[in-house]
Symmetry: C2
Subunit: 117 residues, 2 copies
């Protein structure tokens, strides 16, 4: 069964602090160097990407993404040290969960309807 | 850190086949004996509960919930054998994931903003 089907998110104060979408966005901001380029890269609106960043930045003890002064939509952005730390920790959490869930994931997978049904 | 913050869902064909909300709904239908009573129990609309059941029933090789003939909103419903099987498997998956994720969950938890911030 495809491991991509296992989605893990960490909720905090009734919002998702970090999950598959936000982790991918952090990756993309790291690669692209700005929120708007990352949003384009991921096929989401700038507004949506900004909202996800805002939730992350307020869920932790410090920002995970920092925009350059005078930034806004055109400005650059980078993933902070804390952001890289949380991202690495989330990746390790995913790897550990996947390894541990393998048997049950396979069992549930056996009962999923065929993809084209 | 509170274990409730770890949310795991299994996606299939672009929808959530089983996750925290659907598992809780299965539990509730099993206890309450109908979709409408389970919806009330969970503080969600009948329509929403019915939609979640519909997604589950179409995600697997057979229905997880079966409504009584002539059912509709007033009729009874029960969790099928497959439903109980998937629910038990999902619970084992959650337990295995929680045990495996403990260190990284604690690490991420250390950096979450205080609850009242």
């Amino acid at each position: 069964m495809d491991h991509d089907c296992l989605k893990i998110r960490i909720e905090h104060r009734a919002v998702v602090a970090i999950g598959p979408g936000k982790a991918a966005l952090l990756d993309s901001i790291g690669r692209c160097g700005s929120i708007s380029a990352a949003a384009r890269d991921m096929g989401m609106s700038y507004r949506r990407a900004w909202e996800l960043v805002d939730v992350m930045n307020h869920s932790f003890t410090g920002p995970l993404v920092r925009t350059q002064p005078g930034g806004g939509k055109q400005g650059g952005a980078h993933v902070t040290e804390l952001g890289l730390h949380i991202l690495a920790s989330y990746r390790r959490l995913m790897a550990a969960a996947l390894a541990a869930c393998e048997p049950e994931l396979a069992e549930i997978g056996r009962h999923l309807a065929p993809p084209d049904q």
